[in-house]
Amino acid sequence: MTTEQITAELTTIFRKVFKAPDLELDPSLTPNDVDNWNSLNNTIMIYEVEEAFGIKIPLREMITIKTVGDLIAIIERHTAA
């Protein structure tokens, strides 16, 4: 999968989980930049990502995610494997 494809799929998930229909994803975005991206919704988003990409993100990787770019990198690594 290309980074563009991952970003497009991720945008759909983010818009749905964080209820932000107009959200445009950028690798530098952090939870502070996205309304509703808080510790309560984060794991729901991770679950949706796992389902959509058919991967499993371990907890030790999830806790390192500080930006959208970090998440994209993790998805790239897992989908490439």
């Binding site: 509703n36 309560l40 919704n41 794991t43 907890l59 999830m62 806790i63």
Partner: protein, 484 residues
């Protein structure tokens, strides 16, 4: 050793002076010695406990780093088991036995286990969580294990934050002990200024608010609703000034040594939701529970989607409640917060729709009032001597129908055994504090004072010191959070 004791007033400058005289390589030993002396001054036996927790976690962390998957987990659980086991033994054993006896009483089993009556070692809840956080950081490769036993022992026992936090993170505190720190006049004075403000909040505001609270909560049934309400509002500010005052002394004291501790309070009563409140109140505990309890649990239950989020909120607040104390009041206190947070989570969309188009300032004011009211109600469970007392206060504190004009006079208050001076002073101090906090939206008050011309600065120091000496309560009243 209490911060508000003559012992500390002599101890602290001596340690600080020695710290800057000694070369960097000996400083950890000085701070460690000072910290053990500080803790041992409460009760020498406590040191044995602190030492055991330190030694077990030090060894386990290094072993974890060397071990493979299964063994790594084994070392983690062994070390966490020992530390939480000690905490359970000293803090929760009697509570568990007592609860078990009650259950057996209901079933008339005629069996009763004796209570252990162990004394709660001061600060154990704080340093145990700090150790468990370190172990999990090492397990998840967030932090390399500390190899220097002295530096690690100092991380566990650093005296400014040993007995009531802030509960520090290994990633923030440990690296700072290795850095060479030069004497910096402005930093040292800045730290002392923060300590002075902390002492003022504790000795003048919190301890004097306690006068009315103690009278009312000793026997709430004797007082009309409005007095219960005022006493409970006082209680919210007492706990805040006591604990944030302690945190200021801890953070200021550490700053004198060039160590930056994490922020523990950030104007909590400006919060517009309970979720925001817990980002502003006891930040070090709330973020600890979020990172080490809520997040792993929510991760594990992520396939439950919304229910997983709600479940992990309730467990996280159960932990926060039980962490505070071994009683059902604290369990209920924590669960009440959990329920409110779940309701906020579930109604977020609805509220957004409902208030769409309303003036922003009005919505903010209503949200602040809502949050504060919840804090007031929940605090009753935090303080009431018994569960029955708590229910009584909840049921009557908003009943203002029993108010009479004669109750509002000085003699009316005296008739209820309440000192009118401290009632009026209490209200005045709360209003004064809120004005200062409004100012603190941009900058902390001690920093503003630090920039004033010398004459003004010293005038303010003088007024604060005189206020502490004349109104300060020097009955060596313990800090509220020492009981946890």
């Amino acid at each position: 050793m209490l911060f508000n004791s003559l012992h500390f007033v002599i101890f602290f400058p001596l340690v600080a002076a020695a710290y800057f005289i000694l070369p960097h390589r000996f400083r950890w030993a000085l701070l460690l010695g000072a910290s053990y002396y500080f803790y041992g001054a409460f009760k020498i036996e406590y040191l044995l406990l602190l030492f055991t927790s330190t030694a077990v976690s030090y060894v386990a962390a290094i072993r974890m780093k060397q071990a493979q998957h299964r063994q790594k987990k084994l070392w983690l659980w062994l070390a966490i088991g020992v530390n939480l086991g000690l905490l359970f033994f000293f803090k929760y054993l009697d509570f568990s036995i007592d609860s078990l006896n009650q259950v057996m009483g209901w079933f008339r089993m005629g069996l009763e286990f004796p209570l252990s009556h162990w004394l709660l070692p001061i600060g154990i809840s704080f340093y145990t969580f700090q150790i468990v956080g370190y172990l999990l950081d090492v397990y998840f490769d967030v932090k390399e294990p500390e190899r220097h036993p002295g530096i690690y022992a100092l991380y566990v026992s650093f005296f400014p934050q040993l007995i009531a936090g802030p509960i520090e993170r290994s990633t923030n505190l440990l690296p700072q002990f290795g850095k060479k720190i030069d004497y910096d006049y402005h930093r040292v004075v800045g730290g002392l200024r923060l300590m002075l403000w902390g002492f003022f909040k504790k000795l003048v505001i919190a301890d004097n608010l306690a006068i009315v609270i103690d009278q009312v909560y000793a026997d709430p049934g004797q007082f009309p609703g409005w007095v219960l309400l005022i006493a409970t509002v006082f209680l919210v500010y007492q706990v805040y000034c006591d604990f944030s005052g302690y945190s200021d002394i801890a953070i200021g004291g550490a700053r004198v040594f060039g160590i930056e501790l994490m922020q523990n309070f950030n104007r909590p009563f400006a919060a517009r939701s309970m979720q925001e409140f817990w980002k502003r109140w006891h930040i070090s505990l709330a973020s600890w529970v979020n990172d080490y309890v809520h997040t792993p649990l929510a991760y594990q239950k992520r396939h439950w989607k919304m229910w997983g989020a709600l479940f992990s909120i309730m467990i996280a607040f159960l932990v926060i409640g039980i962490w505070h104390g071994a009683s059902w009041n604290f369990v209920i206190w924590g669960l009440l917060f959990g329920i409110v947070l779940c309701l906020e989570y579930l109604t977020a969309d609805m509220r957004q729709q409902l208030f769409r188009g309303w003036p922003r300032a009005l919505v903010s004011t209503l949200a602040i009032l809502y949050t504060f009211s919840i804090v007031v109600i929940v605090s009753i469970f935090f303080r009431a001597e018994t569960f029955a007392d708590a229910i009584y206060v909840v049921r009557h504190c908003f009943d203002l129908s029993t108010i009479t004009a004669s109750q509002l006079t000085g003699s009316g208050l005296w008739a209820m055994n309440i000192d009118p001076f401290w009632m009026v002073m209490g209200l005045g101090m709360i209003i004064g504090l809120e004005i200062i906090q409004l100012w603190e939206r941009k900058e902390r008050i001690h920093e503003v004072v630090g920039r004033l011309p010398k004459l003004w600065r010293w005038l303010i120091y003088g007024v604060v010191v005189v206020a502490i000496l004349s109104f300060g309560n020097f009955d060596m009243k313990q800090f509220y959070y020492f009981q946890f």
